[in-house]
Subunit: 402 residues, 2 copies
């Protein structure tokens, strides 16, 4: 991808519309009957689309690198995922649906157990029930709302996990984890890794002290460990970089959060895939770039549930004609990364990718799957190049140089 300054200078605003359909973790490796999920699934609409598209394989980050959802998505949105690394705390906050501002320092927290000598004996406080976690977060929040002029926002996650957001001026994220990472040690306070983080350190450590004091009667959840401190990164928006007016249709908080990071409008939608496609149709006139996210391809991949991953893809297939009816100028169907059912997790394998527009060189790919995409006219490329390619096909990029 050319650099941001060049992209900015080439991008133009037009009426044309781009739809980016991301089936999370859709890429697979052969397992059942030596076939991938895409090869097994009955997807006549996606296959027909492939035969009319130009196809390829997109590496999320770089050859051999397995990405988290954050970098994998940034790449597809046209952002260099190495330049824009989003800290754990921020991703965790986005993942539970918190709204962040540029003044926020976010971190992940655990409720943990201290013995009488002040030694940590359990870093997860017995993996408590989520309900108890919710109660304890509320209890803490009632007592700690503010530290100095910094606002403190505490939100529960699953089991023993929660998120704290410190909102104030001058907070930096160059501080060490306040977590010894093992039992048998005392509480570890955060330390500044840069003098600029002094205020953060003071605030965070005061929070730990107050929280431990407030929780002292709540054995086994009688202290907190904080880690993954991260400032909300100030990303340029897709409007600034690409002159797009983008909207996101997603059901999971993490993806809405990522979309918001790059300045997308988050469209209200329901929980089902059907509702997501309805939302696309309903809002089609109002934006020129749509990111539609399907989560369950990834979830079932992570579970190693090959059959259910097949079913989700077959369900997505049914809505393809409705998308085509909207006549987007550019339609891309791809994944953010692969989540092979066999591996039960994200992997490094490049994503099957297809792009439909009036201006493509249709290739010989006849079906939408990993093996067929090898033969695709786009070859193998970096996912960060997908956005310029979509914009080019939507005639939203001017000529470079004369």
């Amino acid at each position: 991808m050319v650099n941001e300054e060049i992209m900015k200078s080439l991008a133009i605003k037009t009426e044309s519309k781009i739809v980016l359909l991301v089936a999370d973790g859709i890429g697979d490796i052969p397992s059942k009957n030596n076939q991938t999920v895409l090869e097994t699934a009955s997807i006549p609409n996606l296959d027909r689309l492939a035969s009319q598209s130009v196809c390829g394989l997109a590496d999320p980050i770089s050859c051999g690198i397995t990405p988290g959802s954050g970098p994998a998505h940034l790449s597809l949105f046209g952002y260099d995922p190495i330049k824009y690394q989003i800290g754990r705390g921020v991703l965790e906050a986005l993942g539970i649906g918190m709204e962040l501002t540029s003044r926020d320092l976010a971190c992940r927290g655990n409720f943990a157990t201290l013995d009488k000598e002040g030694i940590i004996t359990d870093r997860r406080a017995g993996r408590m029930a989520t309900e108890l976690n919710e109660k304890l977060c509320k209890f803490l929040q009632d007592k700690i709302n503010q530290i100095g002029e910094v606002k403190v926002i505490i939100r529960p996650g699953m089991e023993h996990r929660f998120v704290v957001v410190f909102r104030g001026d001058g907070l930096e994220d160059a501080l060490s984890d306040a977590d010894p990472q093992k039992v048998g040690e005392k509480i570890k306070f955060a330390e500044a890794l840069d003098p600029k983080a002094k205020k953060s350190v003071k605030t965070v450590n005061e929070f730990i002290k107050q929280a431990t004091d407030i929780l002292k009667e709540h054995y086994p959840a009688n202290t907190v460990l904080l880690r993954g401190f991260a400032k909300y990164p100030g990303l340029p928006t897709m409007k600034e970089l690409f002159k797009l007016t983008p909207a996101a249709i997603a059901t999971y908080p993490m993806y809405k959060g990522l979309a918001k990071l790059v300045g997308m409008e988050i469209l209200e939608t329901g929980e089902s895939i059907e509702e997501e496609f309805k939302t696309l149709k309903k809002n089609f006139e109002k934006y020129d770039f749509f990111y539609l996210h399907i989560k369950k391809t990834d979830s079932y991949g992570e579970d190693g549930n090959y059959e259910q991953k097949v079913k989700v893809i077959e369900e997505v297939d049914k809505y393809i004609p409705e998308v085509l009816n909207l006549k987007p100028d550019v339609l891309v169907v791809t994944g953010d990364h692969s989540t092979p059912a066999l591996m039960k997790g994200h992997s490094w394998h490049p994503n099957p990718f297809m792009l439909l527009s009036k201006y493509i060189r249709v290739d010989e790919v006849e079906q939408f799957n990993e093996k067929e995409c090898v033969k695709g006219g786009l070859g193998r490329f970096l996912a960060v190049d997908a956005l310029p390619l979509m914009m080019a096909n939507a005639l939203k990029l001017q000529k470079f140089g004369a």
Copy 2:
């Protein structure tokens, strides 16, 4: 490839084992019967392996760039060959099996001829016999062992060529060649290209004066020309970068030297290909990364000896089942660069490449040759990405970001 800091942070130590089999210069262009050496050779085991692997074409450095052995190998070992350029002097020293330290300044030397007026009349002293070269080097070494506090080590190469290593503190390699590069001129002394190289210049020029004085009765070998001054580069080791415990099996000094540069253990082995594979088997338990180097594919390519290159590849083919019996988690077969018999030299053509592991998308390639690899699932990629890919397939890389 992502940068070194990221690779370092993602790499993990595991039990899995990687075998990288490099048939030097294996890539070819069609000549005899309009076929490449790989197409002509009868290689049932390599072909079967290709049908079970994921294949592709790897560019050693960059499209169109013909590499020397140094950069071509560094690339395969996961090192950016542009960032880590190894000077000629160091490569020459490695090539004749010299052991270098980080204090060493190495250079290539020629015995040459001066006439009575001090004019160079032959830059190669009549391409003397190697035996005479050996005698002269010993003669010089006996008289010049030290210049100031700098130790001087002189070793013969072929014909008129030798290597000098200056070992001492504060030697830098920013100095010009002490070689006019043509006859009809006087001795040319080295000049500093940077003030830091003052000590090097003084030492090197003193060596030239003393050597010319010592050699004055040895017409036509009565002076020396020195060029390609290079410091031994301090490369991070594969252990530091990738947490690997690597071993090298190679018969030629140059490749052992390159392997040592990146921190590989050099395994004792015999001269034959059979012995190299035996060495692999014998040491298989002790390391987690093996680089096995076959030299003669390149040597015969350089000679334009198509038939012998075919035979070497057919010999390598016989040992493939033995490698598979070891059950490496990842096996790669490739070259470092192409050496087409027709061209009698290295070339820029990408290397046929195949990778076998449990986690690949097997592609439609049925034979191991250049034309088939075009259809491979890996497409065309940079050789420097091979190492991350091998590590990913050996499950030695953690996820990037969350």
